[in-house]
């Protein structure tokens, strides 16, 4: 069932219950049922994510269409989560234990998530930059037969592409750019920078550290707490950390060293998270594979681009014009063009979707902050 339909029916039932809730006292059973429904739904959504979307030819998970689906799942779960917390309760529940402690933690994670959204959006600009470079190479090599000129042109573009990808992968501040995108060396010129990338965050900001901090006090509720609202808060927190983690794994953004080490302290006896754990493991394995080769981000389209780029680079380096078409190279060039096309189609909607996630997190955070203030407790200053 498509996520949105399920979402609508779930919320429909929720609102009917809300009326009942107000009328009744002792609605604890209702609440329990709703919580179960929520965790069941979460489990289903993430199970669906275990396999890539239909029209995607990649064998790696983190493709642009998959990421968009992931973000849709996030939005859907988030909406249900908020409905559960705010259901008929005004601000009362939120300012009582355990929520009075757990919600501020969630809000703290939300702020980090917002920064990650911004960083990832910025990172997508880098990806677009790669796309543009790849397009140069692909269109140069589309010609049949390829001449010296086209080969050189492609080689130049591919050089820039590989350079850009490797720079963006390393910690930006640590790399001294000695190679340049000049076609020859120049004396006395030192204004060159990582081409095409405008750094938007301070050098000290690290995506990996943000995620590690987000994950560090994720503690599942125990005992009596586990049957109350602490559970959905925990679930939502795990979802948020996972989604951000996946985004950072896929898309180049500043400092992802140690991302793999992010510990997801999710005990296996809970059953809603099996799929999330599965996804985490799968992506983790891909990451390990990549780390050996050293590349910028796990995004499937980018990995493809990189692989094709390497092949074509070899081709152009050993190129000699003989008036005949090298079929293999032509096929690779066509594939590269196709990958660029996918990026062209997919990157902007992905950025729009991330922005939507950003707005949603802001909105929920504002509402929670308001509710906490109304509860009137003067607790430690929240961010």
């Amino acid at each position: 069932m498509p996520a949105t339909d399920y979402h609508a029916s779930f919320l429909g039932r929720l609102s009917i219950r809300r009326n009942q809730v107000i009328a009744m006292d002792g609605n604890h059973e209702q609440e329990l049922e709703d919580l179960e429904l929520f965790s069941k739904h979460v489990s289903e959504c993430f199970t669906e994510l275990l396999s890539p979307p239909d029209d995607v030819p990649f064998d790696t998970l983190l493709s642009i269409p998959w990421l968009r689906k992931l973000l849709d799942v996030f939005l859907c779960c988030e909406a249900e989560f908020k409905a559960i917390i705010m259901m008929g309760n005004d601000s009362f529940q939120i300012s009582k234990p355990p929520l009075d402690r757990l919600i501020p933690d969630l809000l703290d994670r939300s702020v980090k998530a917002l920064d990650i959204c911004n960083a990832v959006t910025n990172g997508l600009d880098s990806v677009r930059h790669y796309q543009k470079l790849a397009e140069i190479a692909a269109s140069a090599l589309e010609q049949k037969p390829i001449g010296d000129g086209q080969a050189r042109r492609a080689k130049k573009a591919l050089n820039s592409l590989m350079l850009a990808m490797s720079i963006d992968d390393k910690d930006c501040s640590a790399v001294k750019t000695t190679e340049r995108s000049w076609s020859f060396s120049r004396r006395g010129v030192n204004k060159d920078r990582s081409p095409g990338h405008f750094r938007q965050v301070a050098k000290s900001w690290s995506a990996a550290k943000q995620i590690q901090t987000m994950a560090c006090n994720l503690v599942p509720p125990r005992g009596a707490e586990a049957s109350g609202l602490a559970s959905p808060v925990y679930i939502m927190s795990v979802i948020m950390v996972f989604v951000m983690w996946a985004l950072v794994a896929a898309i180049p953004c500043q400092d992802r060293n140690g991302l793999l080490a992010t510990h997801f302290p999710v005990p296996k006896q809970l059953n809603w998270d099996q799929s999330i754990i599965g996804l985490h493991e799968k992506i983790g394995e891909e990451w390990k594979k990549k780390e050996k080769k050293g590349a910028a981000g796990l995004l499937a389209e980018m990995q493809k681009m990189e692989k094709l780029g390497h092949n074509l680079m070899e081709f152009t380096e050993s190129f000699q014009f003989h008036g005949e078409t090298d079929e293999k190279a032509a096929a690779h060039a066509a594939e590269l063009a196709e990958t660029c096309r996918r990026m062209e189609e997919g990157l902007l909607p992905l950025q729009v979707k991330i922005r939507e996630v950003f707005h949603r997190i802001v909105r929920t955070r504002t509402e929670f902050l308001h509710a906490l203030d109304q509860g009137g407790k003067s607790s430690a200053p929240l961010v």
Partner: protein, 626 residues
């Protein structure tokens, strides 16, 4: 079809062009690497450009000719020509980059800063009162009061050049621009548009980055901003407002003009693409700061800077739309509009939080001496400042204050009669509501005084202060309205009356006539013992009242005077008349000085001690020597 005419001539032209191109092939010769064509001399540059043109012409000729016999040759030719073109384009790309880099530094200081500026602009907003009297007041009152309201300046534009409207600078000299134009045209007509855009974007982005640093635009994350102290943020906001004006109106608009100039001949899509390639990242970085502020946690002291930010962005919006007018820049326009609307929401939210906070303000320790409570000062100063921002807030505040019970607690909440407040703007209603809520809270606080008289004095002082503040601000007065002002005035007068009744009725009771006469006649039927009792009681009571109420405080001089006079007018004549009628009875007995301790003048002098806020010694009252 025949081969093109004058093949020799064409070939010669082509060949010499090809030679030139190959001579400058940087992958082939050392010399080619060492010099830049466009730096060498004009003649070389022109020659090169002509050569490129020649090669391009050949390319189009070669692609037209399609004789069967020459097919293979044509393909070969085409390939060769393409190869030459590629060499030329690679070279032109480098030349393009070089020219750009030579002329791409951060905006010069005097384009940005006005060297002749004075320190602060003259018009600043209403300054907050700095009542010294309050500083030694009880500082143990709740969170709300520990927040200091800052002095709010209007946005200070004096250190930067006047940035009230778009001003496009010439970022490069004309010669450089025409060179760039010449190169760009040829690159684009050879199908090397993408390379051109890439080079352009990367160089100009660096320049903008340097300008950003000069303008003090920081790279702060949302997390950083949430953690900073608000005071630190205030100065960052001020700086951002100034910087944003320069960015939009000068920096970005000049970049746009540069793109238009360089890519003039090749159509608007391209100069748009280059412009966006250059400024999109920086623009987003710029707006990220404002966005982070707009989502920060709401608390009252943030209101005014948020309004400043809102106003600045509102002011900039038309220019943002003018500079970012293409389809591809829609996301920037949208982001700016979103931030504006969030700032407005934040302002509304803060006002509403403020109202709740006043209601909830929990301090129970009564202010010593019944003087003006810090909450009163804070709130009244705050709403005076709000009235300074009236213009903006009137637009933003669109709904009436919610006067219903906000939480399930049992306290009754104040209510407000909206009927008599017809025709008032929502902002005015909010201000009145704030005063209503403040009074409600003060009533609650007054109950913590053990002495009822002091409670009344407290209310009198505080409501009087409210009235004075309202009268002192024309905007505030106009919004609150004279009707409500009258109500408030009546309230503090009422409190004064209540005070007098609470304290003085029993004191003056001692000076009544009844009960002193034992028989019906006047002459000798006065009970001496009763009389002595009366004097003693009166003395004791007066001394007590004097001692206690000298330490009470009415800060407002005029009010203090008025109350003292009012008390005196009741007290002194009564004592004078009492003394006049009965002193002889006491003086004819023993130890009259034990009973008639004070003269009328003594009492009059004692009156001057009341409500000064200083303790007085008992001896102070006694003037009669033994």
């Amino acid at each position: 079809m025949e081969l093109p005419e004058n093949p020799n001539k064409d070939n010669n032209g082509y060949e010499s062009a090809e030679k030139i191109i190959l001579r400058w092939d940087s992958t082939a010769s050392e010399e080619a690497r060492e010099k830049m064509i466009f730096e060498t001399d004009r003649h070389e540059a022109d020659l090169y450009l002509h050569a490129v043109d020649e090669i391009q012409r050949s390319l189009s000729n070669a692609s037209i000719s399609n004789t069967t016999t020459a097919a293979a040759v044509a393909v070969d030719d085409q390939t060769k020509v393409n190869s030459t073109i590629q060499i030329a384009m690679a070279r032109l790309e480098d030349e393009f980059r070089n020219i750009l880099m030579t002329h791409s530094s951060a905006l010069e200081a005097d384009s940005l800063f006005d060297p002749s500026s004075s320190s602060f602009s003259a018009s600043s907003h209403h300054e907050l009162e700095d009542d010294d009297a309050v500083n030694n007041e009880d500082s143990s009152h709740g969170d709300l009061l520990q927040l200091q309201l800052q002095h709010c300046e209007s946005s200070d534009s004096s250190t930067f050049r006047s940035t009230s409207s778009i001003r496009e600078l010439d970022l490069m000299p004309g010669e450089a621009i025409s060179d760039l134009q010449a190169i760009a045209t040829r690159m684009i007509s050879s199908g090397y548009l993408r390379e051109c855009i890439q080079v352009y974007g990367s160089v100009r982005k660096s320049a903008i980055d340097s300008s950003f640093r000069k303008l003090g635009i920081e790279k702060l994350s949302i997390g950083d901003i949430q953690r900073l102290e608000w005071e630190a943020l205030e100065s960052k906001i001020r700086r951002w407002i100034r910087a944003a004006k320069v960015c939009i109106r000068i920096l970005f608009s000049s970049e746009k003009k540069l793109c238009e100039q360089i890519f003039e001949c090749v159509g608007t899509d391209i100069d748009d693409a280059c412009f966006m390639e250059t400024v999109k990242g920086p623009a987003i970085q710029l707006f990220n700061f404002a966005e982070a502020i707009s989502i920060s946690r709401r608390s009252p002291e943030k209101l005014f800077k948020i309004l400043d930010l809102h106003d600045a962005l509102m002011d900039l919006l038309p220019d943002i739309e003018a500079v970012f007018d293409s389809k591809s820049s829609e996301s920037i326009r949208v982001q700016a509009a979103e931030i504006l609307s969030r700032l407005a929401e934040a302002a509304r939210g803060i006002l509403s939080e403020f109202e709740s906070a006043i209601l909830r303000e929990p301090s129970r320790v009564p202010v010593p001496g019944g003087t003006i409570h810090p909450l009163t000062r804070y709130v009244m100063n705050y709403i005076s400042l709000i009235s300074d921002y009236k213009q903006t807030l009137i637009e933003l505040i669109m709904s009436k204050p919610s006067t219903g019970s906000r939480y399930s607690g049992d306290q009754s909440t104040p209510d407000m009669e909206f009927a008599e407040l017809e025709g008032k703007t929502p902002l005015a209603l909010h201000l009145i509501w704030i005063i209503v809520v403040l009074q409600f809270n003060l009533e609650g606080k007054s109950k913590h005084y053990r002495d009822a008289s002091l409670a009344h004095l407290f209310i009198m002082n505080n409501v009087h202060y409210i009235v004075q503040k309202v009268k002192g601000s024309p905007e505030l007065r106009e919004m609150i309205g004279d009707d409500y002002l009258r109500k408030l005035t009546g309230k503090f007068r009422q409190a004064a009356t209540s005070y007098q009744r609470a304290t003085w009725v029993s004191v003056l009771y001692c000076l009544r006539d009844e009960g002193l006469h034992v028989s019906g006649s006047f002459s000798s039927g006065v009970s001496k013992s009763a009389l002595r009792e009366r004097f003693k009681t009166f003395n004791a009571m007066f001394e007590e009242v004097h001692r206690t109420q000298a330490t009470w405080l009415i800060p407002d001089t005029q009010l203090r005077e008025e109350l003292r006079i009012s008390i005196s007018e009741k007290c002194i004549p009564a004592y004078r008349s009492f003394l006049g009628r009965f002193r002889s009875h006491i003086e004819s007995g023993r130890h009259p000085e034990n009973y008639i301790k004070y003269s009328v003048e003594d009492l009059e002098t004692a009156m001057l001690d009341f409500f000064e806020g200083y303790p007085v010694s008992h001896q102070h009252l006694r003037r009669r020597s033994q």
